[in-house]
């Protein structure tokens, strides 16, 4: 049945709760669902910790009381470490912010793509290429820091933009799906970086393994607090959040990005050049990824390029953009959460012996429940009258 066949649907009346709190259902839902998703993920995580504790499992038959006590202690120790490692001290908090920095930037890269209807799954590759360009600027010239750092960042942005732009160009010219091309460019970037790190341009003299020369001190991101790893990259991420918001909601470019994201055909009929938009969306996305990448070489010890130095930041960013509903502020908060999980996860691995890979599982669970609110709703028996947004990529999250 076409939409034409039905008269417009009436907007639901605001409930008493909404009128008292002044909070719309959408805002409440935007906070409620993520909170419940995180909670559920932690509960499932606890279960996973419990059933993989082999030694304790063995005594459930003989001494259930003791087994229960040990299980609870195990879970308690793990989650306590997770909390202490992320929020328990100044060091923990700076570690959280430190870990959140690349995630926020990479999350923004994915979020911009989502809003414009493109799924940039290749943030990792763009981070690598951007990072290498920034690194090259970092060790090959010597200028004062106030020139050196911006120059390295710009180089990273340009390189990241070009790398992502390839996928944009391919989509614009041939219709190749960006999920495939950016994913493949990830692998190409990994091998390219491995190769580059063994060339004389990058490789540390006297070494045979893929490791680069160190960046000049003037190119290393200064820390914000003496003795902690948190550095100016975090401030750059905050600026990026603000700039992305401005770009998406206050400029003609952002209007075009959002229009093409919701309806590329409509955008084309309105005279926008959809091909050009695909290229520019991915270029902007890649530029942000480039900053995230340079952050990973100039923002932490040993200030060198290593094999696959982007780690899994680019993939986590997909989860993060979803969690933040592709809104810049949402990405910031989601990035902080992921930063906390990672900082806490390190502590959990060190102090409680729980492998940090559990964090990946938690992230996957969170994102599933965010993407399928019906799941959370079914678990917690939340009733709503209005329809769920079901598709994610193709429609974005309003705004």
């Amino acid at each position: 049945m076409s939409v034409d066949d039905l008269p417009p649907q009436p907007q639901p009346e605001p409930t008493l709760y909404d009128r008292i709190t002044g909070v719309g259902t959408s805002v409440r839902r935007a906070l409620l669902i993520p909170a419940l998703a995180v909670l559920s993920a932690l509960i499932i995580g606890a279960f996973i910790i419990a059933v993989t504790d082999i030694d304790t499992l063995k005594i459930w038959g003989s001494d259930p009381g003791e087994a229960f006590r040990r299980t609870m202690t195990g879970i308690g120790r793990a989650y306590k470490a997770l909390f202490v490692g992320s929020l328990g001290s100044t060091k923990a908090i700076t570690e959280t912010l430190f870990s959140a920095t690349p995630s926020i930037l990479a999350g923004l890269a994915v979020a911009i793509g989502f809003q414009a209807g493109l799924f940039n799954i290749g943030v990792n590759g763009q981070m690598l290429i951007g990072g290498m360009a920034g690194l090259w600027v970092g060790f090959s010239i010597s200028v004062p820091a106030f020139i050196h750092i911006p120059l390295a960042i710009v180089a990273a942005m340009v390189a990241g933009a070009i790398w992502a732009g390839i996928a944009g160009l391919l989509k614009a010219r041939t219709g190749a799906h960006e999920v495939i091309t950016t994913m493949m460019l990830n692998f190409v970037a990994i091998f390219l970086v491995d190769y580059l790190l063994k060339t004389s341009i990058f490789q540390q003299p006297g070494r045979n393994d893929p490791i680069s020369k160190p960046a000049e001190v003037t190119a290393q991101f200064p820390t914000l607090l003496e003795g902690y790893r948190l550095h100016i990259g975090f401030l750059i991420a905050l600026v990026a959040v603000a700039l992305v918001w401005w770009l998406m909601y206050r400029t003609t470019i952002g209007f075009e990005f959002r229009a093409v994201g919701f309806n590329p055909t409509g955008a084309r009929y309105a005279g926008m050049s959809v091909s050009w938009l695909y290229v520019s969306v991915l270029a902007v996305s890649g530029a942000l990824a480039g900053i995230a990448g340079v952050n990973q070489v100039l923002g932490l010890e040993p200030y060198r390029g290593l094999s696959n130095f982007a780690g899994s930041v680019g993939f986590d960013a997909i989860a993060l953009a979803l969690l933040g509903r592709s809104q810049p502020l949402g990405v910031l908060f989601a990035g902080l959460l992921f930063g906390a999980l990672r900082a806490g996860g390190r502590e959990m691995q060190g102090a409680a012996g729980i492998p940090i890979d559990l964090v990946l599982v938690l992230q996957a669970l969170i994102i599933v429940m965010i993407a399928a609110p019906a799941l959370v709703r079914a678990i917690y028996r939340i009733r709503t009258s209005d329809q769920e947004p079901t598709t994610v990529i193709s429609t974005g999250w309003g705004g």
């Binding site: 919701f262 309806n263 409509g266 009929y269 309105a270 005279g271 050049s273």
Partner: protein, 505 residues
């Protein structure tokens, strides 16, 4: 009680009462026409009959026995067959494969029995003189033949009652003729036929009884001999309707649009527009008639810069615009009301305001350099909503919540509210209610009277004839006839088949 009966059918969607105590019946060997405007609830009723929806209340009776359908499978088993308005054929399958789908004859190991499938198609085809090749790939067949495949599909399942949903809207006048013969053949064979339409003439010609629906209710049941078209239209709309468009004779001025030897390829690289030449002058409405899929879409897309042409030129106000982009052509005072409102005319998840500035967001005063001035945008939206009678609670609601007619008004407002020299409108009133159709038609004539050159493309011959000062007929990518206002529907209809023409331009 033999035959099919729907009694007291009510269907409620959230916030909408789509069917309200509807009654409908058809017996063997009878043709019942179900008439109603878009949105009257015909499709909902048929989907209930076919098991796609379950009714909120009411009964479906076959031979006096109540039936409950949980899916199309149940309806098919009960002897109900449906030919949908949008064909339910798998384009990459052969005719035979489409016909057997869901009721496949098989050999051992679940292998398909293709020979039996072919035999079924050939048999039914011969019996009702449908002339369909069982091995043809469906997507390569003309629309008229695809419709016959749908009918074979239904007959192969031994349906006793056939529901035909807007079957003639995609056919040429000649195809309609032979289609009516087929339907009469079905009737003679003892099938009960429900014929859904909004075309009054056909209903009068073919039906034994006519049932009229309005706003979810059955409002009248008449015999064709008792009524005429005017009366039927009045029953459908609920008030007297003036089927004419009132306009003064055109006073054509200078040539605004001139198309020369234009060749355009479609998405499958076929010559959809194959050497077309014509002109549109200021102050005249030129209508392009033709069955859908004869190159009209590609022609319009090429004129507006959306599709590259292979050969030939497009000129606007004397300048060659053949290779210009849509934006550049737009800036030469060309307005375009696209064929598919929701797919290409609007960004549905955007607000009314955002849709209104969709073609002006980049120009002052809406934009100041790279920054947008949302205050100006709202000012413009507020003004246009008022001037063009867009019924919306506020310009800040999502455009998707508006009715089709109001959505179309948003597009028309946006496109013509500036200094327009050429207006290109494709299917400007498709799927709209009568009130909106009248409004849009009046607006188009008003534009003409202000000296705008207007090019209308519509597959509704009545609409082209009512609006146009001059009519071009397109067939297989060529213009095969040119007519003035005095031409009759028969003359134009013949030309639409490519069989005879008026004076080729």
């Amino acid at each position: 009680m033999t035959g099919l009966q729907l009694t007291g059918i009510t269907k409620r969607f959230p916030g909408v009462l789509a069917n309200d105590e509807v009654d409908l019946s058809v017996s063997a060997g009878e043709i019942v026409a179900l008439l109603g405007e878009n949105g009257a609830g015909k499709t909902t009723l048929m989907n209930i009959l076919y098991g796609l929806y379950s009714p909120t209340s009411g009964q479906v009776l076959i031979d006096g026995e109540e039936r409950h359908f949980t899916g199309p499978g149940d309806a098919i088993a009960a002897g109900i067959g449906m030919v949908h308005q949008h064909f339910m054929l798998v384009p990459v399958f052969t005719v035979a494969e489409n016909v057997i789908l869901g009721a496949e004859p098989t050999k051992s190991l679940g292998r398909l029995d293709h020979r039996k499938a072919r035999q079924t198609v050939t048999d039914i085809s011969a019996r009702y003189r449908l002339d369909v090749d069982p091995d043809a790939i469906v997507e390569n067949l003309p629309v008229g033949i695809q419709q016959r495949v749908e009918i074979i599909k239904v007959l192969a399942r031994e349906a006793r009652f056939l529901v035909l949903d807007e079957p003639t809207s995609v056919l040429t006048p000649a195809e309609v003729e032979s289609f009516i013969e087929i339907v009469k053949g079905l009737k003679a064979d003892g099938k009960g036929v429900v014929f859904i339409s909004h075309k009054l003439g056909e209903a009068l010609e073919i039906a034994d009884r006519i049932v009229i629906m309005r706003r979810g209710k059955t409002v009248a049941e008449v015999k064709p001999s008792e009524v005429d078209e005017e009366r039927l239209a009045e029953l459908m709309v609920g008030r007297p309707v003036d089927l004419e468009v009132h306009k003064e004779p055109a006073q054509p001025g200078d040539v605004v649009l001139s198309v020369e030897d234009l060749v355009v390829l479609d998405h499958r690289n076929r010559r959809a527009v194959d050497g077309v030449t014509f002109q549109v002058r200021a102050g005249e409405i030129v209508g392009v008639a033709g069955v859908q899929g004869n190159g009209q879409t590609e022609l319009v897309e090429s004129i507006t810069g959306l599709r590259p042409s292979l050969d030939g030129t497009v000129g606007i106000l004397g300048a060659d615009v053949t290779t210009l982009s849509p934006r550049q052509i737009h800036s030469r005072n060309v307005a375009h009301v696209p064929e598919n409102r929701q797919e290409s005319g609007l960004v549905l998840p955007f607000t009314v305001t955002e849709n209104i500035i969709l073609n002006s967001y980049y120009e002052p005063p809406i934009s100041k350099g790279i920054q947008m001035d949302w205050g100006e945008a709202q000012k413009r939206a507020g003004r246009l909503v008022k001037e063009y009678d867009v019924r919306t609670p506020s310009p800040d609601v999502l455009v998707s919540t508006l009715s089709g007619g109001n959505q179309q008004k948003v597009i028309v407002a946006r496109e013509v509210d500036r200094d327009v020299k050429l207006l290109v409108a494709s299917q400007p009133t498709r799927g709209l209610d009568v009130g909106s159709i009248e409004y849009i038609h009046a607006r188009i004539v008003e534009e003409r009277d202000q000296g705008v050159a207007v090019l209308i493309v519509s597959s509704e011959l009545e609409e082209v004839m009512a609006l146009s000062d001059r009519i071009l007929v397109m067939f297989e990518g060529k213009i095969v006839g040119e007519f003035d206002e005095s031409a009759t529907a028969t003359e134009i209809g013949l030309a639409m088949l490519g069989e005879a023409g008026g004076d080729p331009a």
